[in-house]
């Protein structure tokens, strides 16, 4: 059984800025669960499109009941592939992201299309779709519900991270580039702070400091 999720939103930035920020969005305050980022393939096609593959390693955060059921899952990180096509002529960026491991437990695939508009150059439209499924018999539904909830939470963090990268690029203090409420933003920030605090409490490799 596969859960399908789809949403559209407008980003108040030019497509050029959005695409540049896309490459520079890690690290950001909302991506503490993303541990490593690597470009493992890149090619400019004959028709001037940029194909790239990024490999990301993320922590695998499970709720308590899942930890008890899958204790080995706790020690292994999640590897994620993000393939993308930048088409500067049509002003579109298409990304496809999916997890390489832990797929029996849960498979999350996401397709995003960032589309620039000639009529409204100051805005970029983002359409996202996700497919979430689990093959564990008997636990499928709760795992999928959890997966969907975590995915939605990660989507919010991902957008906050992109906004943050956009603001850095534009040399401004972080501002809301999506329609959002002040209360919502501070709640998300507190949530991110809790993740930071719990990450700090768990023994892990020391981060590199400049």
């Amino acid at each position: 059984m596969v859960k399908y999720f789809c949403s559209s939103t407008d980003i108040r930035s030019t497509w050029d800025h959005v695409v540049s920020a896309f490459w520079q969005r890690y690290p950001n305050p909302f991506s503490t669960h993303v541990l490593t980022e690597d470009v493992v393939y890149r090619e400019v096609t004959a028709d001037h499109r940029l194909l790239s593959r990024r490999l990301l390693m993320k922590t695998n955060r499970l709720p308590r009941w899942a930890e008890r059921l899958f204790p080995s899952g706790m020690s292994r990180s999640v590897y994620i592939i993000e393939d993308s096509i930048v088409d500067p002529v049509n002003k579109s960026l298409t990304t496809y992201t999916w997890n390489l491991n832990h797929t029996t437990l849960m498979s999350v695939e996401e397709r995003c299309v960032f589309q620039g508009s000639v009529e409204h150059p100051a805005t970029t439209q983002l359409k996202r779709e996700a497919w979430i499924s689990s093959s564990i018999y008997g636990f499928s539904k709760p795992i999928q519900e959890f997966g969907l909830a975590r995915f939605k939470s990660n989507q919010v963090k991902a957008m906050k991270g992109l906004e943050y990268a956009l603001s850095n690029l534009q040399g401004e203090a972080p501002q809301r580039l999506l329609r959002d409420t002040v209360k919502d933003a501070s709640e998300k920030a507190k949530e991110a702070a809790k993740t930071l605090a719990s990450a700090a409490a768990v023994p892990q490799k020391p981060r590199q400091f400049v």
Partner: protein, 106 residues
């Protein structure tokens, strides 16, 4: 700031200012991303710097003149591909945009 029974507790600040103060503190702690190969991080950062400049100043403007990042990419890839093999990350032979082939056009 006191230690809670569960461990460190992060104080975020008064609700109205929470997002900005948290973000400004976070910037100090997150300078750059690491590579999956610990030895490759410096090579990755060199390449990323070259790429970001080329991407914004050349690629997006339709400039098709030579790619200045070939050498730094080569060095970085040699390192990271070795790390991927060593850690047995199952990335080999995975088709570009693999699972997307089964999906309907959006």
């Amino acid at each position: 700031m006191s230690l809670s029974p569960t461990g460190l507790e992060q104080q975020v600040g008064p609700p109205g200012f929470a997002p900005l103060s948290f973000l400004s503190r976070a910037v100090f702690f997150f300078p750059e991303m690491n590579s999956v190969g610990e030895a490759c991080t410096e090579l990755k950062r060199e390449y990323d710097t070259c790429f970001n400049r080329w991407f914004a100043e050349k690629f997006l403007k339709g400039d098709r003149s030579g790619d200045p990042c070939t050498e730094s990419f080569r060095k970085y890839q040699r390192c990271v591909q070795a790390a991927i093999k060593e850690k047995e990350i199952p990335i080999d032979g995975v088709d570009f945009m693999g699972p997307n082939k089964d999906k309907p056009e959006s």
